[in-house]
């Protein structure tokens, strides 16, 4: 593997020289590129413009022109009483999910990184929660969290954590914790896998020499594992942020944003504006706000991998 990889660098450079080769390369890429331009590039531009236009089912149906209204859509959605809760919920949800997923994922990764006979098959099995259709996971947790016959209340009461059944999804003060629990369950394997890859890249010798110098397991974790795991940790947190922040399906199925905005997030708010009230311009504006936050985080991520690659 090492030999071939090094070998193929200069050859590649050689291939790219002639115009004919360049054309061949372009032909391989062109279909996908054009397709993506039409289905992603165009919608992004379209959505950007929609944010500044007054477009709703009413003027669309009448076949009227779509007037440009400047920042009016943004002003309207920012003043909307749902916007505050949606922003707060999205950030709260993301931070909680990241904290739980990361902690559990790291513990799982450390456990399954140990050498024992069942490590591989069990780790593979855990990934199942990540591959399940989110719709099913959402319904499953909705059932497990139901106040009367939900198993989670029964377990928590059995353990003595709570005295009486909690309303979870029907109670405004606890509703957001439902999707947080479900998403943590979905996200743990993802964190575990990425962190395991990071753990595998730490050479055994480092631990051995630390043992010789009399370091205990806890010290080794703090002084060796965590610092050397830094790139993997950063990747997991940034990617986790991006995937969590845009949450839609899970909340849409579990609570639909309710009760009374208690679980409304940016994506569900944008969806409602566009497809329940048919204020397409305003829906586009909220989606653009969501996009800007994600884009900033993605830029941070790209910067990180570039510095990692350079190092």
């Amino acid at each position: 593997m090492h030999g071939t990889q090094r070998e193929n660098r200069p050859v590649r450079r050689g291939l790219g020289q002639t115009g004919q080769e360049r054309l061949a390369g372009f032909l391989f890429i062109a279909p996908a590129l054009l397709y993506m331009l039409a289905l992603i590039g165009y919608p992004i531009v379209y959505n950007f413009l929609l944010g500044f236009q007054d477009v709703s089912a009413f003027n669309l149906a009448a076949g009227e022109a779509r007037p440009f209204v400047g920042l009016a859509n943004y002003r309207t959605v920012l003043a909307d009483e749902t916007m505050g809760p949606a922003l707060r919920n999205t950030f709260f949800y993301t931070v909680c999910c990241l904290a739980f997923q990361f902690t559990l994922g790291l513990l799982f990764a450390l456990l399954f990184h140990q050498k024992f006979s069942l490590a591989q098959p069990l780790r593979g099995l855990l990934v199942v929660s990540w591959m399940m259709p989110v719709t099913v996971t959402a319904l499953l947790f909705k059932y497990m969290l139901s106040p009367d016959s939900g198993i989670i209340n029964i377990i928590l009461m059995g353990l003595g954590v709570i005295k009486q059944p909690v309303g979870w999804l029907v109670d405004r003060s606890t509703a957001l914790y439902g999707p947080i629990m479900a998403n943590t369950w979905i996200g743990v394997p993802f964190n575990m896998l990425l962190l395991t890859t990071g753990l595998t890249s730490i050479p055994e010798e480092v631990y051995e020499s630390a043992s010789l110098e009399g370091a205990g397991p806890f010290q080794k974790f703090l002084r060796i594992t965590l610092p050397l795991l830094r790139p993997a940790i950063l990747a997991v947190l940034v990617l986790g942020f991006v995937y969590t922040f845009k949450v839609f399906d899970l909340i849409f199925v579990m609570t639909g944003g309710g009760p009374v905005n208690a679980t409304e997030v940016l994506a569900t708010f944008a969806y409602k504006l566009s497809f329940r009230f048919y204020y397409f311009g305003q829906g586009a504006a909220v989606a653009n706000i969501l996009f800007v936050v994600l884009f900033c985080v993605a830029l941070v991520y790209l910067r990180l991998i570039r510095t990692e690659e350079a190092a």
């Binding site: 372009f26 456990l111 653009n288």
Partner: protein
């Protein structure tokens, strides 16, 4: 000493896995309960009487699962096929040829993969509406590929990079054209990667809820995800039926995943982190 450690770790790991995968057991156990038993409080851990009503009742009748399952298959396979045909050559092209703007292109695809579905939803809806594509299979299929194509590209690029160029050189000396060399020599080498992207393409198409929900209002076109979302209100708290539907919905992606587990895990990790 070493042996004890192994046993101890196995016990801990099994215990952790059992707790973690309990929801999976719960969906299955609940799906086998009768209407009366599913409401029992506290719930029974193992169904006292195994009843297949939830399954049989939904296979036939007004809300037939079979029709929706057919739709799910059609949507998932089409999304998989399109992204395979477009993205595999593109991944090869992007890793084999030095093209102007090639690096930027990779970054663009990396960012694309992170985009929220919500961003494209409104413009795609308006565009599909103008092209009279609402209430067709085409609308959700095309939308799903916007996520599977960048993913496919990012998973396969490192594999093509690692595949020695000397392979194609010799094939070309033997008289193969560029494309023939790609088909006959390069593709077989990256087969594990192709398995991964096909699995992902299918699972992603199968799991999609929002595109069919948004672009289609005709029940006859609904995949299983959209159908159960709509049935949820119909069934209310008939959880045994909902869980039975969930079980049927989970089987294809899970079976696929377990069959190709090794490839899928390494591919997903590779594609998600770096591209």
């Amino acid at each position: 000493m070493r042996r004890h450690r192994n046993v101890l770790l196995c016990i801990v790991a099994v215990a952790v896995s059992v707790v973690f995968l309990f929801p999976l057991y719960w969906i299955f156990a609940s799906s086998l309960k009768s209407d009366g038993e599913v409401f029992r409080n506290p719930p029974t851990l193992v169904p006292h009487r195994v009843v297949l009503d939830g399954y049989v009742g939904q296979l036939t009748g007004a809300y037939s699962v079979l029709r929706s399952a057919g739709n799910s298959f059609l949507i998932a396979c089409s999304a998989m096929g399109i992204s395979f045909l477009l993205a595999v050559p593109a991944a090869y092209g992007i890793s084999r040829f030095r093209l102007p703007g090639g690096r930027i292109l990779i970054l663009v695809f990396l960012v694309t993969q992170m985009l929220p579905a919500s961003l494209g939803l409104t413009p795609l809806f308006l565009t599909f509406s103008r092209l009279k594509l609402l209430n067709t299979y085409i609308a959700p299929i095309l939308s799903i590929t916007t996520i599977t194509i960048p993913f496919t590209l990012l998973v396969l690029r490192p594999l093509f990079l690692a595949c020695p160029a000397s392979l194609e050189e010799s094939a070309r000396i033997d008289g193969c054209g560029r494309f023939a060399a790609f088909l006959r020599v390069v593709l077989p080498v990256v087969k594990p990667g192709l398995v991964t992207v096909c699995c992902f393409g299918f699972v992603h198409g199968w799991n999609d809820l929002v595109y069919s929900l948004t672009f289609n209002t005709d029940n006859a076109l609904f995949p299983m995800t959209t159908a159960i979302y709509n049935l949820m209100n119909e069934y209310g708290v008939r959880w045994n039926w909902i869980m039975a539907y969930g079980c049927m919905l989970v089987v294809p992606p899970l079976a696929l995943f377990l069959a190709a587990q090794k490839h899928v895990i390494s591919g997903l990790v590779g594609g998600a982190v770096k591209g």
